[in-house]
């Protein structure tokens, strides 16, 4: 006999159900929540966070973790700001080159991060935490705390130019999501991420170069962090050493709440999309129904623990550190 609702299925759909229930609750309390205007607001605040979440999703699928995003984003944002202004200050000059250069920089920082983790054989949470500190420190050093204003109208059209109520950057983010989904589902690299996460020793024994897969994962994550930096700068028009602040907690919460298991091997970027939306709907909804926003960190803390607990198959682990 097969049961219609298995534990597996429930866990798979739980994040989506949570999102729907949250939206219904907020709408019931204040109908203004359910409007195109408000959805536009949620979409804008979700965009940079989604890029970070996608990046770290690849890492978590491998069973590792990346805590370096705040540093990488800040460095990318600051370097982008300087180069963009240096090279003309508007998209219609050669300053557009700053965009691909920033993406390359993200890839390079990811490479460093992955190399420290894999080649020095340091657990990823600590290697990436330390690299994140270095990144933030580098951004502080480059700016001395100054802000860099990127006021170019063409670049800011990321957020000012709207189609069907949503700004351009939302569509670009969806495109990036599509690319990430294609990488995850239809490339060897994507399958290798799952192979490493599902069982590293098995993957190694079947001839996979696990080290190379891991490092490539961190490089890919770095590129998405750089995208997040571009969107974050586009959103407010300012690049500074704290552009990356708070992304660590928010993005990891999103990924885990979206249903990607910390142990690796399951979930994917679509889970992370749902997770990012849950986090941002809570954030937005609390303001709409008139609750103070500082409750958010606490609620996220409770959510993330709940999500990890629900997704953990207790028979499989013996030691938790």
């Amino acid at each position: 006999m097969t049961r219609l609702i298995t534990r597996q299925k429930l866990i798979q759909w739980a994040p989506f159900l949570v999102l729907v229930v949250l939206m219904l609750v907020f709408t019931a309390i204040n109908p203004a929540f359910f409007s195109l205007r408000n959805f536009g607001r949620i979409a804008i605040s979700s965009t940079p966070a989604l890029m970070v979440a996608i990046g770290v999703t690849f890492i978590i699928i491998m069973g590792s973790i990346d805590l370096s995003m705040e540093g990488t984003i800040s460095v990318c944002a600051v370097v982008f700001g300087y180069l963009f202004l240096q090279w003309g200050g508007t998209l219609f000059s050669s300053a557009w080159i700053a965009i691909p250069v920033t993406l390359l920089l993200g890839a390079f920082l990811g490479l460093l991060n992955g190399a420290v983790h894999v080649l020095l054989r340091i657990p990823s949470f600590m290697a990436s935490l330390a690299m994140g500190f270095v990144g933030t420190g580098l951004a502080v050093m480059m700016t001395s705390g100054e802000k860099i204003f990127v006021k170019d109208d063409a670049f800011r059209s990321l957020v000012t130019l709207r189609y069907f109520g949503f700004p351009v950057m939302v569509y670009l983010a969806l495109l990036a999501l599509l690319i990430a989904w294609l990488i995850q589902s239809y490339t060897t690299l994507g399958r290798n991420f799952y192979a490493v996460g599902g069982g590293e020793e098995l993957a190694h024994a079947s001839g996979l170069n696990v080290k190379r897969v891991r490092i490539t994962g961190f490089v890919l994550a770095g590129v998405f962090y750089a995208l997040a930096a571009l969107f974050a700068v586009g959103k407010i028009g300012i690049a500074e050493s704290i552009t990356g602040a708070n992304f660590m907690f928010i993005s990891i919460t999103s990924v885990v709440v979206g249903g990607v298991a910390l142990w690796g091997g399951t979930g994917g970027v679509l889970n992370s999309l749902v997770g990012v939306l849950i986090v941002n709907v809570i954030d937005n909804g609390m303001v709409v129904i008139g609750l103070p926003d500082y409750v958010q960190d606490g609620i996220l803390g409770v959510l993330v623990v709940t999500a990890v607990v629900l997704s953990t198959d207790r028979r499989m682990i013996s030691v938790v550190k």
Partner: protein, 313 residues
């Protein structure tokens, strides 16, 4: 002499070399008054690192220490007026309570400690913002001096914070070397499955370790808020990195089991000397975080026991 035999001695050798370098570069550095001030200033950091040592000693980590200290500066500032000296007890209770929560989530709910403590840290941030109304608060100066003035006073040239640090270190050392708790924590750090197989209630002792870490982070927060005569939800930001660095360069590796609180005392002094040397050698203050980040990577890479990691995730 091979590296493995040298390894346990690296921390104090590093400290001596650093002191020698800075001492020759700047002759005011080695004056006793300067050294005492230097050590007095670093006491809140030392106490936080002392707590972290317990979490790292069992192979875990406590990323909530900084948020905890932030919360405690707010709690101490708000309740000093109504509770007087008893506020210290409240602070330690809050810290140990949240630490217990981290420990419970880690052991009973099987959430890795870096996530559980990150989550507890989130709760601490929310609490501190709620209690403070997201503002910086000031202590009533007269009351602070009456209740906690002794903490920041001096006997001759010796700042009283050093006595507090010494007492806490002595207690921690006693717990580590002379109690069942200390032995069990070492067993857990050295090999948790073996510790469990020999009939130890591992979960209970791990929860205690996180509670101690929380309680000490709270004391660090309390002393910090007394020093600054106030509290705010982000006032202790920037503590976490040097505190982790202090534990690791002291010689307690991330994999746990070796090292201990005495090592952390040496590690904290190394952090203090590096900080001061940056001033003397005219390295910008903004470079400090990057330097400590790099030191952290080197420290982990040198101290970590790779035999304990079957796969490096």
């Amino acid at each position: 002499m091979d590296f493995q035999r040298l390894k346990p001695h690296l921390p104090w050798i590093t400290l001596l070399i650093l002191v020698a370098i800075v001492g020759t570069a700047d002759d005011t550095f080695l004056k006793p008054a300067n050294l005492l001030n230097l050590m007095g200033d670093i006491v809140p950091l030392f106490i936080m690192a002392l707590g972290l040592t317990f979490a790292i000693y069992i192979g875990g980590i406590d990323l909530s220490a900084q948020s905890m200290a932030n919360l405690i500066t707010v709690v101490a500032t708000i309740y000093l007026g109504s509770l007087g000296g008893w506020v210290a007890l409240l602070c330690v209770a809050v810290g140990a309570g949240l630490g217990t929560l981290s420990g419970y989530i880690t052991t009973k709910l099987m959430v890795p400690s870096f996530i559980s403590t990150l989550a507890t840290g989130g709760i601490a941030i929310s609490l501190s913002q709620y209690l403070s109304g997201q503002r910086a608060l000031n202590m009533d100066a007269a009351q602070r001096d009456a209740v906690f003035g002794w903490m920041i006073a001096k006997t001759g040239p010796v700042p009283h914070e050093l006595f507090i640090a010494a007492v806490l270190l002595a207690i921690a050392l006693f717990v580590e070397r002379r109690t069942t708790l200390g032995r069990v924590l070492k067993a857990v750090g050295a090999g948790e499955p073996a510790a469990r197989a020999s009939g130890i209630d591992v979960a209970r002792y791990k929860i205690l370790a996180f509670a101690i870490s929380g309680g000490l982070a709270a004391i660090a927060g309390l002393i910090f808020s007394v020093k600054l005569s106030g509290g705010a939800p982000a006032i202790a930001n920037g503590f976490l990195l040097p505190a982790i660095v202090a534990v690791l360069v002291g010689g307690t590796p991330l994999t746990g089991g070796v090292g201990g609180v005495l090592n952390t005392a040496i590690g904290t002094m190394i952090v203090a000397v590096i900080r001061t040397s940056m001033l003397y050698f005219d390295i910008e203050a903004t470079a400090q975080q990057m330097v400590f980040g790099l030191v952290l990577i080197v420290a982990i890479a040198v101290t970590i026991d790779r035999a304990k990691l079957r796969t490096v995730k």
